[in-house]
């Protein structure tokens, strides 16, 4: 949380220091974004997002067992 005291300190900085601080923060944010995904590591994506055939088979199974339950 940014305190009022910190904001007052920042406000009092000379223009050049404010610009420098801004560059520093942008650099920090960019680094944090880059750190989310590390090079050389594998990030498996398990989602079967286009498993149409499997989805149809499973829906048919649900429907068939539903009919059995009501038979």
């Amino acid at each position: 949380m940014i305190s009022a005291e910190l904001l007052d300190t920042l406000r009092a900085l000379p223009r050049a220091d404010k610009l420098h601080l801004m560059q520093f923060l942008v650099s920090e944010l960019a680094q944090e974004e880059a750190d989310l995904l590390k090079p050389g590591l594998a990030y498996p994506v398990w989602s079967p997002y286009d498993a149409v055939e499997a989805a149809n088979t499973m829906l048919a199974m649900l429907k068939a067992t539903e009919s059995e339950r009501h038979a």
Binding site: W46, S47, P48, D50, A51, A54, T57, M58
Partner: protein
């Protein structure tokens, strides 16, 4: 969302901070009187529900007796999968029937996908609040 239950996002990777939080839902699966409580990932991008091999075994399911073979996609394409029908209890709601693609993949999380978790439950994700709400279909009207 009326009649909904609210759940917090759960941290699955602490080094990622807030980015490591995911919508994971605790639910109890029952198959032939045998029950297991799992935590499933709400995966809107998954076309089907996915059950890891060991959870099916814990439920007492026998691979050879599940004769409906499935062909999955992506990272799961390399593993055999069979359809498995179970009863699922979420929170205080009445149990529903969920059909899973029971995969032989060892490390996959329980995935709750379109067929048929999202056909049974209405879900609202509030990422900024790190929470989600859900209720059975028709219950929120």
């Amino acid at each position: 969302m009326r009649n909904a239950e609210r759940y917090p996002f759960i941290s699955v990777e602490s080094t990622l901070g807030e980015a490591g939080l995911q919508p994971r839902l605790p639910l109890t699966l029952t198959h032939h009187e045998q029950s297991v409580t799992v935590v499933g990932l709400l995966d809107t991008g998954a076309m089907v529900n996915v059950l890891p091999y060991h959870v099916g075994v814990d439920l007492g399911a026998v691979w050879e007796q599940q004769t409906t073979a499935l062909r999955l996609t992506g990272n799961l394409a390399q593993f055999d999968a069979r359809a498995l029908l179970v009863s699922a209890a979420v929170g205080q709601f009445a149990p529903v029937r969920l059909v899973f693609a029971w995969t032989q993949a060892p490390h996959v999380p329980v995935l709750l996908g379109q067929v048929n978790f999202f056909m049974e439950f209405d879900v609202c994700l509030y990422r900024s609040q790190l929470a989600f709400e859900l209720c059975p279909k028709g219950a929120s009207a």
